[in-house]
């Protein structure tokens, strides 16, 4: 009884033959369902896009004038008998898991996700399925996150201390997702928040989409160093080490990323402070999410796919490594937060 699986990995992306559509394809296709607007998931050149309402403006900002249909979470659309619906992934604003159902068989593609409620993205909801395609960017047991309150206390304390020493706090994080999550958790009694142009553009797109964000000031050619001093600057990884950043001197430079959990990775980025803050699930989060789907089979994308699938097999799952072109977060970062 070897039936063709409902979803398969081909050279273009994750494909559903029955419904003739792709999820997060890495090569141009006719119909693309997009989990979220990060550059390795939402790429150029597809004829038609389907995504969540909250991804609308950011997708347009990043991909230009595309043919885009947006839907709400839990809303179902049907293509050739295949039911497609989006469910909150908790990764960034508008991020979704894609549920695909045909003749009683259910698959879920997680996209990127995290379980912790970050206060700005719609919190993750587990979706029951037979087969689960999960990311595992941080699928090693050395990655375990602390609650975000603890991390943000550290960030605000650091800012406060820099403020007292007359230094500017430069905080680096991915422009879509991380930057907004940080902003909403900063203590603005300490000072003002300035933004790099790339981050401000992202904010503007989200605001246009009806998201309310705390007040920020965009750094322009006429912004003076004196004005910024003691305040906090949000900038993308691509700005690190550029003359733009050097002009903010004197500053302390903090980096927000899950990779900061490891000393070696932290030192490689030469930041003054590393804050372990990730929009991906940690080791326990991944396992918890997979358990909650009650799935039989798991396909793993992103990061430590080999080790993590082996571990899942040992605890009784039918787990497989999937070959995809989703960059891990570090590549996104190295390329510079925008692509």
């Amino acid at each position: 009884m070897s039936k063709k699986p409902l979803l398969e990995f081909n050279q273009f992306g994750i494909y559903c033959q029955q419904g003739d559509f792709y999820i997060d394809p890495w090569k141009p296709v006719n119909y693309a369902v997009i989990t979220h607007a990060h550059s390795d998931h939402a790429r150029w050149g597809n004829k038609h896009y389907l995504a969540h309402h909250l991804s609308k403006e950011i997708l347009k900002y990043r991909l230009g004038d595309i043919s885009l249909e947006t839907i709400a979470y839990n809303q179902t659309i049907i293509r050739n008998g295949v039911k497609i619906s989006l469910h909150p992934a908790g990764h960034i604003i508008g991020s979704a898991q894609v549920r695909v159902e045909y003749e009683g068989e259910v698959w879920v593609v997680s996209g990127d996700y995290k379980l912790e409620d970050d206060g700005i993205s719609t919190p993750f909801e587990p979706v029951k399925c037979h087969s689960f395609i999960s990311e595992c960017t941080f699928g090693m047991p050395v990655y375990t996150w602390k609650p975000q309150e603890e991390i943000f206390k550290g960030i605000n304390d650091w800012w406060h201390q820099n403020h007292q020493q007359g230094k500017t706090s430069v905080l680096v994080g991915y422009s879509l997702g991380k930057a907004q999550r940080i902003l909403q958790n900063l203590n603005l009694d300490i000072g003002k928040v300035y933004t790099h142009g790339v981050i401000q553009n992202t904010h503007d797109a989200l605001i246009k989409n009806g998201i309310s964000l705390k007040e920020t000031y965009k750094i322009t050619a006429s912004t003076t160093k004196e004005e910024i001093r003691g305040n906090l600057v949000l900038c993308p990884p691509s700005a690190v080490g550029t003359p733009w950043m050097k002009k903010l001197n004197p500053y302390s430079f903090g980096y927000c990323s899950g990779w900061m959990a490891i000393r070696g990775a932290k030192r490689r980025r030469a930041a003054d402070r590393g804050f372990v803050l990730s929009d991906h699930a940690d080791w326990h989060g991944l396992i918890q999410a997979i358990e909650a789907t009650s799935c039989e089979s798991v396909y793993l994308t992103h990061g430590y796919t080999a080790s993590f699938s082996r571990y899942l097999r040992e605890i009784g799952y039918d787990a497989h490594e999937a070959n995809t072109l989703y960059g891990d977060e570090s590549l996104e970062e190295e390329k510079g937060g925008e692509a």
């Binding site: 090693m140 050395v142 490891i262 070696g264």
Partner: protein
């Protein structure tokens, strides 16, 4: 110990010298004298004796973390450091404790007479009171692997500021054989030196390199304009051995290597001549493999390093000699402030009186009338098995550490060859998650033969690019090693080359390193094994 763990974290998070000194001073001002001296012991490599071995540590950690053994090993591959891996895998603490660094060090020393069972209970209880950072530093101390990326100079600077003594005095006082049970912080900062440690060496004076690359040689004129007339300089060969200090005080003898390791037992054939030195003598020099009045290549000396026991045969086949460079103490008096020329005269006199001139040799002077002539003489370095020349200002005192101005090393260019990257492995520490350890190959007919491993030499940006290439072009994985599609060409520099039957290529390189990434070359343009062989020293 929480403040010690925080000290470690704070130092880790900045590489600005002044901030690091400030952090060290803040720590020192905040803790007890006992903690200060224990901190200093740890920062200068004086670790408590190891009471729990790696296997025990790993087994107990594995038991606590409840993951399979292979996953533990792979976690270690990701992190690149055992203590850090364990600290990340252990469960969160359920208890609390505020013991000081000295209290923990005492408890570690007390493990000596404990059973394995008692050790385990003690360790698990300790872990259960610590957050990840404290666990990490604690395990480092426990395993004797405590190393901090802070140069001793910074610690010395912080101490000197607090004690209001000069840095040279502190540098000297923290050398030698002390341990924190006998040496107190008050003794360290006393106005008068109160040490009775016969073994205490002097800080080595280190030469600064005259910067050159293969494309950019200094002309004799440039050297003259920066160093002045050659008549003001004492010139010697730069030998490639083990820099060492030799001490004879009150019937005791000591041999210290530059890494501040006591190496007295490693070189028994030197003992007789040291014992025959007058009481209160300290010499600086180089230990070289030496036979029939000829120095031998470094790999001969290497056969003796790291051996626990030295067989008679090995001592006979690979004997060593001491080439004296300098004299630092005579008749128990520190003479480092005398001029280079005066010290040289005293050294010559001492060596002439020695009964063991074949073992106690003096570094031969190189005479040249001009820098031009000296540049010409330097060309003979490789034939003499020297690494180049040492230039020492005749009027200079013997100073502390690496200083610009009075001692220069003028090395010959490294040998170099273009090679293809074929295997890669992840790095450790700072680069734990990147492929940074490479194996290189040269052509033997149409096959690529590996001949060298190299780690350093690329910029962070290049490392990221190469890492990316490796991840995209892996042909096979063997455990942590990836076979990479042969494509990238690098220029590999090295200090020396010798025949070796242990290596597939038949040669062993000394200090191989990446000089640059030859993005302009195709893999076919890399060098051949034959051209590598041509670089071997001529026989006889």
């Amino acid at each position: 110990m929480k403040n010690f763990a925080n000290l470690f974290l704070a130092l880790d998070e900045t590489n600005k010298t002044n901030e690091r000194i400030k952090i060290l001073k803040e720590y020192l001002l905040q803790v007890s004298d006992d903690d200060k001296i224990n901190m200093l012991a740890l920062f200068t490599g004086r670790k408590p004796k190891r009471q729990i071995n790696s296997t025990q540590l790993k087994d107990w950690a594995l038991e606590q973390s409840k993951i399979p053994d292979w996953l533990f090993r792979e976690s270690y591959e990701v992190v690149g450091d055992l203590a850090e891996t364990i600290s990340l895998l252990l469960p969160l603490p359920t208890q609390h404790q505020d013991k000081s660094l000295s209290q923990w060090i005492t408890e570690i020393k007390d493990l000596k007479d404990k059973t394995e069972e008692e050790k385990k209970n003690w360790l698990l209880a300790a872990w259960d009171t610590m957050d990840q950072q404290e666990k990490f530093v604690f395990i480092k101390i426990l395993t004797g692997g405590f190393r901090v990326g802070v140069s001793q100079n910074l610690v010395v600077k912080a101490l000197a500021d607090i004690a209001q003594l000069d840095t040279a005095t502190i540098t000297h006082r923290i050398m030698g054989n002390w341990n924190p049970d006998e040496f107190t912080f008050q003794q360290l900062i006393a106005a008068e030196d109160a040490s009775t440690d016969n073994s205490r060496p002097y800080p080595f004076f280190l030469a600064y390199p005259i910067q050159e690359t293969s494309d950019l040689q200094k002309t004799a004129l440039e050297i003259e304009s920066s160093l002045g007339p050659i008549s003001q300089w004492q010139v010697e060969w730069k030998w490639d051995g083990i820099r060492a200090q030799i001490i004879h005080r009150k019937d005791e003898i000591f041999i210290w290597s530059r890494g501040e390791d006591l190496a007295t037992d490693k070189f028994p054939e030197l003992h007789r001549f040291i014992q025959n030195l007058p009481d209160g003598t300290v010499l600086d020099g180089e230990i070289l493999a030496f036979k029939n009045n000829q120095p031998l290549p470094f790999n001969i000396l290497q056969t003796r390093i790291g051996r626990k026991t030295l067989s008679k045969k090995l001592l006979q086949e690979n004997p060593v000699a001491f080439i004296a460079y300098d004299i630092l103490e005579l008749e128990g008096i520190d003479i480092r402030n005398k001029s280079q020329s005066d010290r040289r005269l005293l050294l010559e006199k001492l060596q002439e009186d020695s009964l063991h001139p074949e073992i106690f040799r003096i570094s031969e002077l190189v005479h040249a009338q001009s820098w031009d002539e000296l540049a010409f003489i330097r060309e003979q370095s490789r034939a003499k098995l020297a690494e180049g020349l040492m230039l020492k200002r005749k009027a200079a005192s013997y100073q502390v550490g690496r200083k610009r101005g009075d001692w220069w090393k003028w090395k010959i260019d490294p040998l170099a060859i273009d090679a293809v990257l074929i295997y890669a492995q992840k790095g450790h520490g700072r680069r734990a998650d990147l492929y940074t350890d490479y194996t290189f190959a040269v052509w033997d007919g149409d096959k690529l033969v590996p001949f060298a491993k190299a780690y350093s030499g690329l910029t962070d940006k290049e490392i990221n690019q190469v890492d990316h290439f490796i991840k995209k072009n892996t042909l096979e994985k063997f455990g942590p090693v990836r076979t990479v599609k042969p494509e990238l060409v690098f220029e590999i520099g090295f200090e020396g080359i010798n025949k070796s039957s242990r290596h597939k290529s038949g040669v062993a390189l000394r200090f191989p390193r990446i000089l640059r990434w030859r993005t302009d070359k195709k893999k076919e343009e890399a060098d051949s094994l034959e051209s590598l062989m041509l670089l071997l020293p001529k026989e006889g």
